[in-house]
């Protein structure tokens, strides 16, 4: 009996083979929006340094339809990054107290509460409300 092992090729289609891989890709793609928005802000820094007129022009660019669409998408993807990150934190940083482990929900929960509190504080200090 001769051995002739067959190797199955792996194509990029693995991404759509199961919802969990799709969700993984969505999470990974959040980097495009977080990175993209940050670069947009770096440009904003340049305009801020140039003076009030440049800054006003920058704010006007922000009000374009393309910018609004980008911002909505970026907000969604950034939030998805946050949610997935905080939910995974307990796996990476388990906390054992005595014989038991602190429940994952508690560790993640603390992060979500801090996230909400920080966000509200920033909104308040920025004068958004």
């Amino acid at each position: 009996m001769s051995r002739k092992p067959y190797v199955r090729a792996m194509t990029w289609r693995w991404i759509v083979r199961h919802p969990r891989y799709v969700r993984y890709m969505v999470r990974e793609f959040s980097c495009l929006f977080i990175g993209g928005w940050t670069l947009l802000m770096v440009w904003g820094l340049q305009q801020l340094a140039e003076g009030p007129a440049a800054w006003a022009a920058f704010l006007e660019c922000l009000e374009s339809p393309a910018s609004i669409v980008f911002h909505v998408l970026a907000l969604g993807f950034a939030a998805y990054h946050s949610i997935t990150w905080f939910n995974l934190t307990p796996k990476a940083l388990p906390l054992q107290i005595g014989e038991r482990f602190v429940p994952d929900a508690a560790i993640a929960g603390v992060h979500f509460v801090a996230w909400a509190a920080l966000s509200l504080a920033v909104l308040y200090l920025a004068g958004a409300f």
Binding site: F29, T38, W55, I68, W85
Partner: protein
Amino acid sequence: MAISNKPIVWGPFAAGGTLTAFITPVLILLTLLAALGHAPDLLAYERLHALAGHWLAKLAVAGVVFLSLWSAAHRLRITCYDLGIRADTVVATILYAGALAGTGASVLYLARI
């Protein structure tokens, strides 16, 4: 097999991922409000310029820019490999260089404020 030096790039990625998880959504919300015509007070030129003039603020902004761009670059590097782009060294070089360039630019602009 030797212990990898991956922590050089992974450390900032993990720090950046954590940082962006906490602050990026609310910051995007601020500029989204501006995009919708309801710019928060902080985004008015005088206030923002004054805040950005402080050396501590400049340090913080540069740090946030670096960590945000670096973690995005690292993630995009992994994603490229996941999608079948095998030239990892080339991709990594381009993306990390991009993150450093973005950081450098922000430092330059902050210095001018």
